[in-house]
Amino acid sequence: MEILTLPALLKRNTLRFGDKKVAIREKEFGIWQSVTWKSYYENVRDFAFGLHLLGFKREDKLSYAGDNRPEGLFSELAVQCLGGAIVGIYPDSHLDQVEYIINQSDSIFVVAGDQEQADKILDIKEKCPRVLKVIVDDPKGMRRYDDPLLAYFKDIQKSGRKLAEKEPQLFDEMIEKVTPDDVGMINYTSGTTGMPKGSMITQTNMYSVAKAQDTVDEAVDSFEYVSFLPLPWIGEQEFGVYWSLYKAFTVNFPEKVETVRENIREIGPHIMLAPPRIWEMMCSDIQVKIQDAAWIKRLFYKIFSPVGYKMAGFKLERKKPPIGWKFLNLLAYLFLFRALKNYLGLSRLVHVYTGGAPLGQEIFNLFQALGVNIKQAYGMTEQTAASIVHRTDDIRLDTVGQPLPGIEFKVSDTGELLSKGDTIFKGYYKNPEATKEALKDGWFHSGDAALIEDDGHIIIIDRMSDVMKLTDGSKFSPQLIENKLKFSPYIMEAVVVGQERPFIASMISIDMGNVGKWAENNQIPYTTFTDLSQKEEVYDLIAGEVAKTNESLPKVAKINRFVLLYKELDADDDELTRTRKVRRKFVAERYKDLIDALYGDREEFEVEADIRYQDGKGFQMKTVVRVKQVEISE
């Protein structure tokens, strides 16, 4: 029988590798602890049986709220073995979001990673009457809790193990009952607008996306992968769950969120997927650390990094580099790139992607220069993650790549990108209207404006709803401009405005770390983010960066004015999605004063703002914000 579901893949891998190969590794108590395929299988079985004994049936749902840990995988697979669906909750979600997702998905169990997550669920238990048990993974600090709703992961597994001993055949029978059409996950996308919608992802979807990805970029079972992006994110699901089961490579879980960088360096992964933010951070890290390095290192960087850029240029133009450049590149590798890649934990990478949002061209170039072949991967939750990727030796910076095999693409009359295939989701859970809108005749409507080139490359312009028009009628994509701005190490986020306005302006959030360092080096005293962001000198610094960005923009798309935001954009304030995409409409609403000021004639004005802390406390702050005009050279 052909294997078409994740539970069946788990069983296949267990039969093939048993105790001989490591399936999962997690750093705990300072040591990488291994879980073999056999033990993976047993853990899933015991938890599945435990849930079964508690009354979990086919098509039931379980929510997982916790950090990336092996127990996240055990929960997901256990639920799928029972014919149910897993619902991922981002560990940093607010109470109302958690409540909404648990209730909308009809979850009857919730797995809480630790005390923090358990506290959240217990806080809202009255509002989630369908939840039968809150199953806690790490009981640290919960000795005194006596809520009857609570249960512990290990205890559930213990009760499951007894059943497994009694009926050794039962689990394999269960796995055989899982069909390719079963919904294995309901994935809630934060969405840049409105309440999250739950995409129903079937076993076929998961299996197909792994297979398609592997056809393009083949993985082998000796590969290592580090799972550090939030587990509920569909991209992490594809790489850390579907693909890793499909090709049986090892998934590594970091010790803590704070130790991710260090843990990546220790593992040296072969496959890596990261959103632009991570690549941007690495890029600023390189730039800042080089400035602080000894003179000899700075010298090598100065000499050899242009060699890398030149080589990357040859590669992008698909030209054969002359022998002289090849030799220089070898030197550059020995003296600079090898050490730099090793420092970042990128030396063993074979397949490396950026996804979630477009990556700035300059950052793309930097990593290409290092010899890290970052490929753009485009995808959406509704397409079960990646659907378009660059091929290893066919990278074009203006496109997101070519479709994965098995997925058909076309552009509608209105310019919207449509797709069809085995990875397209089944619909939104309990939302037939939205489903009807998104799926017409089997074509999924992405909401992205796109172009398909003759060679099959696809260019994403922007969200259909985001493309803006100035009063003179010229159109521009704010995202494109924002990405260019964000290449500056001093700029963290940027929001470009100009819809029905005479010119383009921008609200910019500075990178506190790098600007702070710059201020220290230039002996500019500052206290808080607000204070630093409104310094005259910082405005001048950013004006310089904006002017640099303007050079590479067409005349209509140049930024005329900007303000610096007096607080960082934050997902806790609903200004960013959990995957750190700017929620444009919300931000425009919230900072309406600033936008009005950008098109007004005053240079300075006072704002009042409510600041809210994570624990609900808040205060009001007042500050003076400036508007800065950027000189535009013709």
Partner: protein, 270 residues
Amino acid sequence: MQMEDNKQYQLRLEDIHLSFGGIQALNGVTTGVRKGEIFSIIGPNGAGKTCLLNCINRFYHPEKGSVILEGRDISRIKPHKIAALGIARTFQNVELFGHMSVLDNIKLGAHVHLKSGSLSGGIYYGKSRREEIDLRSHIEAKIVDLLEIEHIRKSVVHSLPYGLQKRVELARALAMRPRILLLDEPATGMNLEETEDMARFILDINEEWGVTIVLIEHDMGVVMDISDRICVLDFGQKIAEGKPAEIRHNEQVIKAYLGEEDITYSRLGA
């Protein structure tokens, strides 16, 4: 009565007198700490709180009075032997080895329990090697995990922010596997979040390890929240002792704190 007290208290202080020159720092303080409780000592600046802790772990030698640990008078025991008896402490100002790593600092705390000598330890072979590995896994599983300092375990201490240094100091005290832990202002100079973390750690240590805790702290929110009993000192004398609710409404305490009722009330968190 006297007999009963001896049994009831794990640590007892009897009529402690301590003076520096003409200044009477402690003037006949008698109190006791029960096993497994969180016992806080509060009082205005210069009331003698730290002096009292110093008398317990024998940094100071009281002129009169005795310190009794589990029925045994420890007033004449040498300071370095106090640690071996199971009393550990942290300091008001961080007293770590700044140039050493976090792990090395913590390991030092466990020194009293190591059996191998410096020679066999230096060779790192056989029994002493096993002992070292066991110690490391104990520290990782029990202390680093509890105090959430995984990300800094290899950092050099003086490069860390103050709040984290305080946590490392607590970790070092824990490595001694104490039965009684003396904490001298563990939350001083911390922001709200760090203070809340620290309070949670103290509770965890108390609950999960069963360690008796003697706490000096100025943050009344923390003291009132986590203490089982509170002892109030003023000018070297005990003026009150009891449960947080009793202390909060004790008139003498309110007077001792600034003398003004309304201000004190807010400071006591009432």
